[in-house]
């Protein structure tokens, strides 16, 4: 297998370019995706290659261009709509919740919506209280849509095409902190499965269940714990809706201990759902209560020291695992 060195940003760009080349029903639409090159430079160069019809700059009209994406999907296209940042998606939520997620049902199965919406999520860049939230787990409450979060280069490269082949709306959340991350990627990756969670690190003593930006932090925590003789399995959920219970239940029934790590605000986070499902389906296999490591429940403050304090840190994860394995007491 030949590998290439690539950043997460470049992997996303390659995925979009690939989609534009493979299917002429595909087009990219959003604020500054064209002339500017994308707010985070993800679509840099694509306007020049594909032209303004297929790499389409929009006015600041989140509700209309997301709704137009739904309409274009109904009209036979395969739109990729980019919303710059998850906070701005609040302006388009009516279209996502009341139309994209419901049209198939309201129409009795007649109108599916093959739409992909991409947006940047998460903190870590000192962008403060209106640009830093992690709402992908919150979106996972909505029936009718699929939620995926690429945490690895392979998923950044391969999830988009899988999403475009899904007949229903798929939201791809890209942790902004990952864009500059560089690494080796199998050059042949074009599409990955988006139904299953993945075991990123096998282990016997406890299970960390996470996704997105906290995956690497969790793996690092696992390595640290390995030195202490605690062998931790790390699971990357990858798809937050529908959740792949089987993968994390299988793990927890083996390790008997679970820690859910999630950059969302703790209350009502996806980690609460995971915890509830483990309780419901593996209660008698648990040797310790399911732990959660989430973000502090605060609109993100600007200064680095407060932002760091608000986010799940490696030490927090290590401490949580130690509590479940009893070594923390």
């Amino acid at each position: 297998m030949t590998t290439i060195e690539i950043t997460y940003r470049e992997a996303m760009r390659a995925a979009i370019r690939d989609a534009l080349l493979r299917d002429d029903r595909v087009f990219l639409m959003g604020e500054d995706v064209g002339r500017y090159g994308g707010c985070f430079a993800v679509s840099l160069g694509l306007l020049e290659e594909f032209g303004p019809d297929r790499v389409r700059d929009t006015p600041l009209s989140e509700s209309a261009f997301v709704g137009a994406g739904i309409g274009a999907a109904l009209g036979g296209m395969r739109p990729i709509v980019e919303i710059m940042t998850v906070n701005f998606s609040m302006l388009a939520l009516d279209q996502i919740v009341n139309n994209a997620a419901t049209l198939l049902h309201m129409s009795g199965g007649q109108l599916n919506v093959p739409l992909v919406i991409r947006m940047t999520t998460g903190a870590g860049r000192q962008l403060a209280a209106q640009h830093s939230h992690s709402l992908e787990g919150w979106y996972a409450h909505i029936p009718g849509i699929r939620i995926v979060v690429p945490a690895t280069l392979e998923d950044a490269r391969g999830m988009l095409w899988a999403a475009l082949r899904d007949p229903d709306p798929v939201l791809i959340f890209e942790p902004g902190a990952l864009y500059p991350v560089k690494g080796e990627l199998d050059a042949s990756v074009r599409e990955v499965d988006i139904d299953r969670a993945a075991v990123r690190r096998p282990g016997r003593d406890a299970t960390i269940i996470t996704y997105g930006a906290t995956l690497q932090t969790s793996v690092a925590a696992a390595e640290q714990l390995a030195d202490e003789g605690i062998d931790v399995e790390v699971i990357d959920l990858r798809t937050l809706r529908p959740l792949d219970d089987a993968t994390f239940l299988d793990s927890v029934t083996r390790t008997h201990r679970a820690v859910v790590v999630d950059e969302g605000w703790r209350t009502g986070s996806i980690s609460a759902e995971i915890s509830a499902r483990i309780t419901e389906q593996a209660f008698f296999d648990l040797d310790a209560p399911v732990e959660r490591v989430c973000s502090a429940e605060v609109p993100m403050p600007y200064p680095k020291h407060l932002e760091d304090a608000a986010l799940p840190q490696q030490a927090d994860i290590v401490a949580a695992v130690q509590r479940t394995t009893g070594d923390g007491r």
């Binding site: 509700s63 137009a68 199965g109």
Partner: protein, 320 residues
């Protein structure tokens, strides 16, 4: 315009009128539930506008859409069965009155979020523009919807991108209990719309011939690549907003005055004076419509329910 054509327009308006009147009765008889919004008084708008469209041209509508669905050719049986919530309904009974859909007839619903259909219509127009198709997508919405942010964003987007969209604003003077002048600083909606830089003009929405003529001209402009057009169709609902509405906010004299301009009477008068409507014609027409309606009600009554085991179907597509 041929006498036959006018008779067809009359027939359509009558079908809608009788259908709505029957729905009101069926609501009282608790055969129809939920919210029910009737189109009585506004028949000329759906009939005239949709009469100017080709059958494969997309329509996006509201929760007051029975008339649009019937005018587009969604079978009355399927519409009535939907009112009943039967699986023989045009949305398998899952949508009900506010969510009529018919993909084969390019009828995209049936949207109960005021203004929510506007971006969808822009997107359908965008898809056609990208594919080089020459269809016109029509979006029906009300005067109240024009106050929503989605209206502004959609008008700008469609005009900026010169998309083939007909914005058919049904100005029936009220948004629920809120009169136009208490919703809009600029009550001349055609004038406001024109500020986006697209052709926009007011039309007498009680005169089906005027509506059809305006729609024809609009569609010609759009098909010729002239970009979107906005029509302000001035009309009135003769009944309350919905079956929940005691209609406290309208003065009876105003309602009566508008009823003097009943779109069906106006067309009949025109036809009579032009000798296109003989004695007995109306009765014959009415009999025909009444029979169609009776069949539709019987079919709805006999229609099956979706099985409870299928509750969660159609949340995601069924991979075939």
């Amino acid at each position: 315009m041929s006498a036959k054509h006018r008779q067809e327009l009359l027939r359509q308006m009558l079908r809608i009128r009788r259908f709505e009147e029957r729905c009101a009765e069926l609501y009282s008889a608790t055969k129809i539930r939920g919210f029910l919004h009737l189109y009585v008084g506004e028949e000329a708008v759906a009939t005239g506008v949709i009469g100017a469209l080709l059958p494969d041209e997309p329509i996006v509508s509201t929760y007051r859409e029975h008339g649009h669905a019937l005018a587009r050719g969604v079978p009355m049986d399927a519409v009535m069965a939907e009112m009943y919530g039967r699986s023989t309904g045009c949305s398998r009974g899952r949508g009900g009155s506010m969510h009529l859909f018919d993909a084969d007839r390019h009828f995209y619903g049936g949207n109960a979020i005021v203004g929510g259909g506007l971006p969808l219509a822009v997107g359908l127009g965008l898809a056609d523009a990208l594919r080089g198709a020459h269809r016109v997508t029509t979006c029906f919405f009300g005067d109240g919807a024009a106050a929503e942010g989605e209206f502004h964003e959609s008008m700008n987007l469609a005009t900026l991108w010169q998309l083939p969209v007909l914005f058919a604003c049904e100005n029936n003077q009220y948004a629920m209990g809120t009169a136009l002048a208490r919703s809009h600083a600029q009550t001349n909606l055609a004038l406001r719309a024109a500020s986006y830089g697209l052709p926009a003009w007011p039309v007498d929405g009680m005169d089906v011939l005027a509506v059809e003529d305006a729609a024809q001209r609009a569609v010609e402009i759009i098909r010729a690549g002239g970009g979107p057009v906005f029509l302000e169709l001035r009309t009135y609902r003769f009944r309350a907003h919905s079956m929940y509405d005691p209609d406290r906010y309208r003065d009876k004299a105003e309602v009566e005055q508008w009823k003097q301009r009943d779109p069906i009477d106006i067309l009949m008068a025109r036809m009579r004076s032009d000798g296109e409507l003989e004695d007995g014609d109306l009765e014959a027409l009415d009999r025909e419509v009444t029979e169609e309606l009776a069949r539709a009600v019987d079919a709805a009554e006999a229609g099956p329910w979706e099985p409870v085991e299928d509750l969660t179907r159609f949340v995601y597509s069924e991979q075939s």
